[in-house]
């Protein structure tokens, strides 16, 4: 079994009528510093004047458009230091991708 090296906690949530889902998981080191993020890919999103096929929140919770589009079979992005280091269909696999990018197992 893969044991996570960082301390992962829920980050931003999406709340609404009939909707409750985690939009990101934040990985902190033993000192409590946010080292990595695993972010849910959203979309398509209608902004009022155009449709974004795939977007995600950056670390300041700004919506970032993904180009060219949603990666095939991936619903989560693994991010370290503001860079995307991996994509995965489920968050745990994205967590492993982020930890691997940090030089772990």
């Amino acid at each position: 079994m893969h044991a996570p090296r960082l301390h992962w906690k829920r980050g931003r949530q999406e709340e609404g009528p009939g909707v409750h889902r985690t939009l990101e998981w934040i990985g902190r080191n033993d000192a409590g510093e946010a080292i990595a993020r695993v972010v849910r890919i959203l979309g398509p999103v209608w902004s009022g004047w155009r449709t974004y096929r795939a977007v995600a929140l950056d670390d300041e919770a700004k919506v970032v458009e993904l180009r060219p589009s949603r990666p095939d079979g991936a619903d989560w992005l693994a991010c370290v230091g503001g860079q995307v280091v991996g994509r995965a269909p489920v968050p745990l696999q994205a967590v492993r991708a982020a930890e691997a990018a940090l030089g772990g197992d």
């Binding site: 079994m1 893969h2 044991a3 996570p4 992962w8 906690k9 269909p89 489920v90 968050p91 745990l92």
Partner: protein
Amino acid sequence: MPGTPLEKIRNIGITAHIDAGKTTTTERILYYTGMSHRIGEVHDGNTTTDYMEQERERGITITSAAVTCEWHDHRINIIDTPGHIDFNIEVNRSLRVLDGAVFIIEGVAGVQPQSETNWRLADRYNVPRIIFINKLDRTGADFFRAFATLKEKLDIVALPLQLPIGIEDKFVGVVDLVEMKAIVWEGGELGAKYHDEPIPADLAEQAKEYRQLLLDTALSVDDAAMEEYFDKGDVEVATLKRCIKAGTISGAFRPVLCGTAFKNKGVQPLLDAVIDYLPSPVDVPGIAVAAEEGEDEHVERRRIKADPSAPFAGLAFKIINDKYGTLTFVRIYSGTLKSGDMVMNTTKGHRERIGRMFQMHADKRAEIKEVYAGDIAAFVGLKDTTTGDTLASQQDQVVLERMAFPVPVIDISVEPRTKEAVEKMSLALQKLAAEDPSLRLRTDPETSQTILSGMGELHLEIIIDRLKREYGVEANIGAPQVAYRETITRPHTETYTHKKQTGGSGQYAEVKITFEPLGRNEGVVFDNKVVGGAVPKEYIPAVEKGIAQQAETGVLAGFPTVDFKYSLIDGKYHDVDSSALAFEIAAKSCFRDGMKKASPIILEPVMDVEITTPSDHVGDVVGDLNRRRGMIQNQESSGSTVIVRAHVPLKEMFGYISDLRSMTKGRASFTMQFHHYDPVPRNIADEIMAKSA
């Protein structure tokens, strides 16, 4: 209050392609749960759920059968459904009322066509399901290859909860990835004895890899479980099971188990999975009420939650007639009902008194006095309730979402062998049609033949067989006739004088009529343009009558003539010899002579055909449609499936289902409905006229 708490009830269906092992699995379930003391076998014709004579003779399931059993303090109501596409209505109506389903996949062939069809039906009704890869003892069985077909053909996230230990004749048990242990069957005692042991060393690495996949996928549906994992590096079994259940109900993934029902291995863990992962009546959102007239179908509507103390609501989903009368199977969604209670049939708007009620065990019945939300029961004595009707309390007269039924695609004509059996056959067919919404019955107005429309040749063959066995009616069946029509393509004016003098008063009438073609479906139009009383008013209806009668038998091949206008523009009469009859005869003759000169043609019905085929067969399907004089309208791709839409003459569609199945190895299906009439090509018109001559 109900004996079994709602959260301990499971209403499930067992469904699959033909011969994948549904009935065999059901037999083991009944044996291991103590409901039967022997295991029946399909090939011996002695299974519990295949109780009809035809089922036992042919070794196939024709009608869905309900049975009930107990497992680990839970009550499981099971409906075993047919696999053959001709009896798809049984799968359709069962999935409509069930809370969960077990899809059995063959370990050699993987996902087969009927599994695809049934899977799409289950998608339509949002039925949570688990998959059982069966027949792993068979030569050529391959769990991983069968598993790969789940993604390939159903495009789903399939999640293994088990791995096989050994394969083919060396298959002995399964690795349980939830509890990380091996379950091994000991042989003997028909598979009732099995034990847990450590995972074999040669499977340890593979089990670890699949366990990680299980955690990755299952925990993603539950944030608290994710946090438990981040804290401990693993999760409790109870947490994992909770996640698997949540993902199964939401459809985020589909759990996969394996075994061989015939060799008695893997069925008990399947029962555990039914309890652990399929929903109870309170775990599902409840059935939606039907959209009101004019209401948007997609708007979220009120849902009826399972609650024994709420007003009663149930859905009639199956009707059978036997020697004791009519049994109506009802899924109870809410409330409690006692024998003798009055309910409303809210679909038809009348009251029904509930007579006796039974819990069914295949063809056996046990009388019950009360039914509760979550139950499936059979009612006797309902006067006018048919499949798909809602029964509801008079305080809350809800109408539940109706069931969707497939359109019959094959017609045959049927007539009793003796005149005495005419009425008997008519009554019997009406009863059979009331049981089976995929069977339609009509009388051809032109040939007066009784036409049976069904889902396929086997479907209709079974109906004819039931007619004989259950109702004692021997019938001749024949191929149906295409309903051709005739019309004209250019205007023509004809004058005809009917004159007869045979002593006494004679017959005299003259009519001058212009015949003109009309557009399709414009019917027959009459215009009276007579001026100055050339044809007295009292004879005009006789002219109309003559044309109407003659138009029933066209001038080319005797088919009804349609889409033309005729104008009576002039005529002559005689004070003594003219009569209504004389004008009627004159009009008929005028029609016969005139229509021949107005360039008549024969029209044929053209069907709107929709074929759903795997993309690797689309070339064969389209080529075949072209050979059948089909006009392709469009092609749409959906994953690995292509939907081809075409207009094809009905004449070319007889026997199509068999050709389509052989062309696509049974993986394609089609529906068709009447679209329009088109002129028949000259060579075919010549054939038709030669036949009618």
